[in-house]
């Protein structure tokens, strides 16, 4: 309750100020994430600094083009998309044979029985470090055609696509078609460095998904995760998890988990910061660790023995703890509260 009141007072003091020059960071807040409900249709990006959340349907996009100096393309892990490289560079040459092979092996189905699944998804912890689609080469003939399952995890399955991405100056050209088509479409994409990625939908072209790179700190979404499993490829099994929390590793956020037993949340202050090592290259630092249970014998639940400390791109440091998985009993609407520990620049 105190957190709510504090947040309200910060807001009211802001709005009373006729002409704010600098908006100070929120000192605390309670966010009820609008994940859309029990089928968790949305990915939700939250800025702790402003307390603003942005909900976007997971099915909005298909491919994300990196705006960095490299040329990398991600597939939509939030729908469980999977891809496999073909041996062709001519998109029209890919068709029935490749589809049949992928269907027979089941390699493009994200499930517990697909032990090779991890080879067909972007790295769940740091997708740009190991995307399933090889970095787009300046040598056009090195860029293969990929067969793409657009994902069927918690969303309706759509027909498979075939895609090929080549460079186009400082941008990209995407060639795409239904997997069994004999013609294809092309789309040119230019990088926008205010954003981490440029998002593209096969139907709608460039679409808005993620807020500008400094406008969010943590995101809640369903998506592809991984778990150690000795029998699977690389000892890792890719699977779909409905309560992932990412921090914005490509936009300058870092995060660390703290155990209540080490420093209680209520006692945590800026003097404790030097004891922490923030992580900025594994977006699953919060990941699925904030939630426990879920299985035949235990109900899923927020872990009450851990919380997180998140540093945003402006070096504001917040302590964040998750409160519940539901809103009025409805899954896919989790909530968390946070407090400013140290203001940044």
């Amino acid at each position: 309750m105190t957190a709510l009141l504090a947040a309200a007072s910060v807001f009211s003091s802001c709005s009373d100020d006729p002409d704010p020059v600098v908006v100070p960071p929120n000192e605390s807040g309670l966010i009820e994430v609008n994940g859309g409900g029990a089928t968790y249709p949305n990915s939700v990006f939250v800025s702790l600094r402003s307390g603003v959340q942005t909900s976007v349907a997971r099915t909005t996009w298909d491919l994300a083009f990196s705006t960095g100096s490299d040329f990398k393309v991600l597939i939509n892990g939030t729908t469980g998309a999977m891809a496999t490289a073909t041996t062709e560079t001519d998109i029209n040459a890919v068709g029935a044979a490749e589809i049949a092979a992928a269907e027979a092996s089941g390699e493009l189905v994200l499930s517990f029985t697909n032990l090779a699944g991890i080879e067909h998804v972007d790295d769940p912890a740091n997708p740009l470090s190991k995307p399933v689609i090889a970095a787009v080469s300046a040598t056009e003939a090195s860029n293969m055609v990929y067969l793409l399952s657009r994902g069927a995890s918690g969303v309706d399955a759509k027909p498979w696509k075939k895609i090929r991405v080549i460079r186009n100056g400082q941008g990209y050209t995407l060639q795409h078609a239904d997997a069994d088509a004999t013609t294809f479409s092309s789309l040119n994409i230019s990088k926008n460095t205010d954003d981490n990625f440029v998002y593209v939908s096969f139907e709608n072209g460039v679409v808005d998904v993620e807020p500008a790179k400094e406008e969010w700190d943590i995101a809640w979404t369903a998506g592809t995760s991984s778990t150690p499993y000795p029998q699977a490829s690389n000892g890792t099994l890719a699977y779909f998890y409905q309560d992932l929390v990412y921090h914005n590793i490509y936009g300058g956020s870092s995060a660390v988990q703290v155990a209540e037993a080490t420093i209680p949340y209520d006692d945590f202050d800026e003097t404790d910061l030097p004891t922490l090592t923030f992580n900025s290259d594994n977006r699953l630092t919060i990941g699925s660790n904030w939630r426990g249970g879920g299985g035949p014998t235990s109900a899923p639940a927020v872990k009450t023995d851990v919380y997180y400390v998140v540093k945003d791109a402006n070096a504001n440091v917040y302590k964040v703890r998750f409160l519940s998985l539901t809103k009025d009993g409805e899954r896919g609407k989790p909530s968390f509260e946070y407090e400013l520990v140290e203001a940044g620049n």
């Binding site: 109900a299 519940s324 539901t326």
Partner: protein, 734 residues
Amino acid sequence: MSSEGFAQAVLRGKVVSESGEAIAHATVWLADAKGKVADESGRFELAELPKGAKLKISAVGFETLLTEWPAGQSEGVFALSQSTSDLEQVVVTGSFEPQTARSSVYQVRTIGETEISKRAPMILQDVLNTQVGIRFSQDNAVGASNMELLGMSGQNVKILIDGVPMVGRQGTSNEININQIDVNQIEHVEIVEGPMSVVYGADALAGVINIITKKSADNTWGLSARVQEESVGSSYSPFTGDGNHQRGISGTGKVNNWDFGLGYSQNRFGGWKGDYTGRQYQWLPRNQDFANVRIGWGKDAISLDYQLDFLHETIFSYGPETRLEMLDQHFVTDRWMHRLLGQWDLSSKFALNWQGGLTSYTRDSETWVSNVRTGEHYPSSAPGAQATIKYEGFSWRTIGNWTLGPKLKIQPGVDLNLENGSGERITDNEGMQDYAVFLTGEWTPNSWIQIRPGLRKAYNSLYDAPGVIPSLNTKFRLAKSLDLRLAYAKGFRAPSIRELYFDFFDASHSIQGNPNLKAETSDSFNGSFNWSPKAKGELKTSSVLGFFYNDVEDRIAYGQDPENIQITTLFNVENYKTTGGTLSQTFRYKGLETNLGFSYIGRYNLISEEIEDTPQMVWTPEVTANTIYEIEKWDASVSLFYKYTGELPAYQTVVDGENVTAQEVRTDAYHWMDLTLGKELIPNLNLNLGIKNLLNVTQINSTATGGDAHGGGSSRPIGYGRSYFLGLTYQLNK
């Protein structure tokens, strides 16, 4: 004597032992559920005789006598022979009229009233948990327990109350929850192993458990009350909250041709937290309320018995602590079950009896929200948070009994079963109608052979009912004290409404029923030797050696839909077999009665079809020892119930790249023991105190590993630790 009394000639009878001594308080049964009790000196009077002048006379310690009043006589003396086995019981399952277990062509196992009262049960599972061949596994997520009979899962067992099938199979195990039955209403339990599908139809594939309720046959009025307080492991608080609390009261009365019964029982199980420290329970708290009304009427050749049972059960599943919103689930079951039993003796050659049931079963899953910060508590309005499953079932079975001669009886019957299921995760359907005719008969060519063939033909509106279902039961009296029973039967299990119409699609599940399923069928062979030698002095013994083989085809199993591999559905694909033997040995010496049981049962290893170097059957033993010692001079008794449940092996596949191998996994063995001390405090008031789960078992380990999200954990809950109980029973009859 008035002229009226003179006109109505009174028939006087006397019950004696073989040596001519009077037997006090024998029960003289005239027709189904009507009877008189003989006095101290074995004498009784009858105002009129039933059709055919048939009598059944039973007394504790004696063989039940089925006889006829001597024609034309006004007095009769009836001699009962001493029981060779104290467990001599009158059974009804599978036969037209009550008969002794020994003369039944079926091998019927009974758990009698004495043993049930010594078990001091809270739930029926407390009575069955030291029976050989019966295993339970707990489904603690929903507070239910699943049963296995001789290696076959509980969905293959038909659960009957007074011959009327129960409705309301629930959960993934598709079973009747036997713990939703009022134990205070149970007179005795009959268990028949092996298919009884000719008479009882679908799902009587592994066997039948027939729960026989108490009747007020011989009293003008009666009153009984029971209170029992029990700890749940070490947690207990008096009468409410923690612990296990039961109270029940029932009354019976008889006016002219009518008799009435009224009963109410209450169970309050406070749950057990186990490893949880917060709000959650490993064994969920459960409240049960049972009410029962009975009205019977009998005159001349007709008897009718109507019963109405009501159950209201709430199981509380408390969610984990959170800092904001906590979710609890309540599973609320309401069941109304009407039963109409009756018999009409049309002539001395032909009689009809019927067993009708009408059941309405609803199970609500309610989700409640508690907001920690505001203190609000309200039902969740989220989609799917409030779910209901509803079953309506109607069943009617009529059997005719036609005596064609002293050696031949035939019993034609019709069996009608209608069931509707609707609710969350079940697609709309028109319900199931099952119409069947069957014909059984019993041929007794001579005094030592009994042959009972049977045939059933059914029509089902939803699935292809199996063709003609045959059965053949035989009994040979090899010697005066040695019987051999041999039987073959075909059994079947109908696909359930859930298996046909399941519809469960959400973000992580895609499961769909298959309306094209057909029944699972089995071929079953079983036999038993039953040896009951004459008593040697005070020592009486009896032995039953049984063996069986079941071969199940078209077993329903989950698989991927070939048209859409994302969808899981059901197919008639698997084979299953069970085989094994059981041995039951009873000793009775003075006040001591001990039953030792042993079974060794093999279950089919499905993986042996793919990986040949694994055995086709995996075997597991069980040992039971149930002892009751009556100390007459103190009006007291000591009872010890014990069971060893042997290690259960199984195989699971291990996939390593291209290699698929089999790995043996084992579920641990465990020992279970209950101890009861009984004492009559004052006449009609009995005290029971004791310890359940004396060996303090909570869970056993399994080496099985779960390969997916729903893979079983490595431990299985068995009990909630050593529990102590104290109970009082008051029973008064006039």
